[in-house]
């Protein structure tokens, strides 16, 4: 089933000359793990931002073409509505962490989705246990390392569990054993029909992807 379609997407940032995308077309099915490749500055992050609607709602620019989320037009939704389809993990965890305590960060999304407290509690416990980071639950988010912050954001995303996950350099700063755990969870979710977009340069992860988008070839 098609969960995402981009049709003739054309985009450039405000006040900048060159178009990053001139005529970008792509589609994703449920169960896809898609690797987004390309040299830096070629628009990997921009692509994710277009899919989740940060462009043009938060970051300005000239955007045309169509973005369809499960056949519905994304351009008429607001970000909270989009959040029922898509979630994003940004490159820098400091751009995402808002709450002083880790637990609040994890619960926030689920609370907004009106998931009952016992269910949230269960989900938090499950994911923290899976990544062996139960000890971080009541920590101050400020006191965490870069890698730990990334793990928290990822956990928050898995708790929220939307149809499409956008992960911008998720493995950056993490250790082998954690990376392995994340990968097997991604595979697991994909087999249940979730869709992943992963921006990553490291060839080792190519193995898990069933599709690849190379943005260098969109260059003109």
């Amino acid at each position: 089933m098609k969960v995402l379609e981009l049709k003739h997407v054309r985009f450039r940032y405000k006040n900048r000359g060159n178009y990053i995308f001139k005529d970008l077309n792509l589609s994703a099915d449920s169960g896809d793990i898609i690797l987004v490749k390309g040299a830096s500055g070629k628009g990997k992050t921009s692509l994710l931002n277009i899919i989740c609607g940060i462009i043009p709602r938060i970051i300005d620019g000239d955007l045309s073409g169509e973005v369809l989320l499960q056949q519905r037009d994304q351009s008429i939704m607001n970000l909270p509505e989009i959040s029922t389809y898509v979630s994003i993990m940004m490159q820098l965890p400091d751009y995402q962490l808002f709450f002083p305590i880790v637990e609040e960060e994890l619960a926030f999304g689920a609370e907004n989705m009106k998931i009952p407290p016992q269910k949230i509690e269960q989900k938090i416990q499950e994911i923290l246990q899976y990544f062996s980071i139960e000890n971080l639950r009541y920590c101050e988010t400020n006191s965490l390392s870069f890698g730990q912050k990334k793990m928290i954001i990822l956990s928050a995303l898995f708790i929220l569990s939307p149809q499409i996950f956008l992960l911008d350099e998720p493995f950056n700063g993490l250790q082998e054993n954690q990376i392995d755990k994340i990968i097997s969870r991604i595979k697991n979710y994909a087999s249940e029909g979730k869709t992943f977009f992963i921006v990553e340069h490291f060839d080792r992860f190519c193995g898990i992807a069933n599709k690849e988008i190379n943005l260098d070839s969109y260059e003109k």
């Binding site: 940032y13 900048r16 490749k37 390309g38 040299a39 830096s40 500055g41 990997k44 992050t45 490159q91 820098l92 400091d94 101050e140 400020n142 006191s143 965490l144 390392s145 870069f146 890698g147 730990q148 990334k150 793990m151 350099e169 493995f171 950056n172 700063g173 993490l174 250790q175 082998e176 954690q178 990376i179 340069h201 490291f202």
Partner: protein
């Protein structure tokens, strides 16, 4: 004669009431290239912050070259060590790459040299960011910002480098350029301490591998 850049004696450090280092002893030579590993949250970044003088409240001794860490001025330490942060925006001061490198060179007009401009051009060219030099840094992508940080580092070629995830967000082309520079430095006996989640890239170039475990730093065979 021994020529160490970092010598640590019985060092202890706590962060947010949590013990990070207990009784650490370590020596790293000026010409050594070392890979530092450890679980996330084990204190790899904290170690760099201690060496570069951003954290001062440790007990025990940390010697940089011949002098105790806390007796350095920022300028003196800068002559010995250059530190590239993991979040590279923490290294960048200027509004544009050009301005940022300029600040590194002339420290707000405290220093002047006619060769500054050429050196700056060189550094930007090596990492292929000449075309971005007048763009606001907050509009650059993560990988582009990293290249600005690396260009800045290149201006400080002769110092000991502390590199926290230097290749994160870079494509293979740029990583190769960076590795060439590391090799050049190795030939000239210039050392570095590297933290990376991609240890395989550095496997051939490093002299030694360290691991932070149970609040101590161990040699890994």
């Amino acid at each position: 004669m021994k020529n160490s850049i970092i010598r640590i004696n019985k060092m202890k450090f706590r962060y947010f009431k949590k013990s990070i280092f207990e009784d650490v002893n370590l020596e790293i030579m000026k010409n050594e290239i070392v890979l530092l590993t450890g679980e996330s949250g084990s204190g790899k970044t904290t170690f760099c912050r201690l060496i570069s003088g951003l954290e001062k409240n440790y007990s025990g001794e940390i010697f940089i070259s011949k002098k105790e860490n806390n007796s350095y001025t920022a300028k003196e330490r800068f002559m010995e060590i250059s530190y590239l942060k993991q979040e590279v925006s923490g290294n960048i001061l200027g509004s544009t790459p050009e301005e940022d490198l300029q600040i590194s060179q002339n420290r707000f007009n405290e220093e002047k040299d006619t060769s500054f401009k050429d050196k700056r051009e060189d550094a930007l060219k090596i990492y292929k960011i000449e075309s971005l030099k007048n763009q606001p840094v907050w509009e650059l992508s993560g990988g582009q910002k990293k290249r600005v940080g690396l260009a800045d580092l290149y201006l400080n070629f002769n110092k000991f480098w502390l590199l926290d995830e230097p290749t994160a967000g870079l494509d293979n082309g740029i990583i190769n350029i960076f590795m060439e520079i590391l090799k050049q430095r190795k030939k000239q006996n210039l050392g570095a301490l590297i933290i990376s989640h991609r240890q395989e890239i550095f496997a051939d170039i490093i002299h030694r591998k360290l691991e932070i475990k149970q609040n101590k730093i161990w040699d890994v065979q």
